[in-house]
Symmetry: C2
Subunit: 142 residues, 2 copies
DNA sequence: CAGTATCTTGATAATGATTATCATTACACT
DNA sequence: AGTGTAATGATAATCATTATCAAGATACTG
């Protein structure tokens, strides 16, 4: 998984005439190793332990790059900070988000996925990706 | 529609021990009259024409109130500014968002809605609301 | 393998939307 | 009309993200 991600990242870099760097490797490793739904700040703090010389802006810049090349997904939920999650090695999924405790449950429903594609088609629209978030109250908060 | 919205707003205010004001009436009217998917800035500019004395912060504060009481929906799409749309008088709908031109198409699919509720239930989750956005290329951009 | 063009980095400043502050004004209730 | 308190408007503060820029690193070049 990690190797596939690195390949994708490297070929994206060379394709765009960008360069690989030590920092980029470190940040990508940390991002892939991280638990899901991580903020830039959390990622920065995780990296800081072993690589205190890597700056906040560099982490930010590279997380954006991960999104560009399809390795990461951006989630802006309510007033929470923007979170990112790796896409490689994780099947596509949607989110149930508890409005009480903020807990995020990952779910998937292939029927819904298919209907979404139909819905797009019916509107002369070529879907690229989608985002489905269901807000409510989780088991624990009820 | 407008009257219903005003009723909802007023009862929300009194319920919370808040007061109605001339500004609140003006801002709510402007919001309801506005086209859909408006930003705070756009709303502020629309209001400024007839009511230049109403401040930006006041508009902001009250749009937040509209969201709290269920009159408005917040949409954060990509890097665009946060947009708001009235919920009263508009049936619930989802969005097809063109990644080229930013055009937003409103759609609805009752089958998807039902499956979403089932999906939530299956996870011991009580749904309150949801957000479905399908990103892709619209007819005109293709 | 050194030379070089240019990309990247890190530190910090700038930006821009949103939120907080606070003195003044205005609402709503008695 | 009087009064307690919420709301306003102007502005400052906040905070994530983005831009700036000098210094360093990378990947070709011959």
């Amino acid at each position: 998984m990690t190797n596939k991600a690195k390949e994708i990242f490297r070929s994206y870099l060379s394709e765009k005439g960008l360069r690989n760097t030590r920092q980029r490797e470190v940040i990508l490793d940390a991002f892939l190793a991280a638990d899901k739904h991580i903020t830039v700040e959390e990622l920065f703090n995780a990296i800081k332990k072993k690589n205190p010389e890597i700056g906040y802006a560099t982490v930010h810049r590279n997380v954006s790059l991960f999104c560009e090349c399809g390795l990461a997904d951006e989630m802006k939920i309510g007033t929470q900070k923007t979170k990112y999650e790796p896409k490689i090695g994780h099947k596509h999924h949607d989110h149930l988000i508890c409005v009480k405790c903020g807990r995020i449950i990952e779910v998937n429903d292939s029927k819904i996925e298919k209907l979404q594609d139909k819905l797009a088609e019916a509107n002369d629209f070529t879907p690229v990706k989608h985002r489905l978030e269901i807000y409510g109250i989780c088991k624990q908060c009820r």
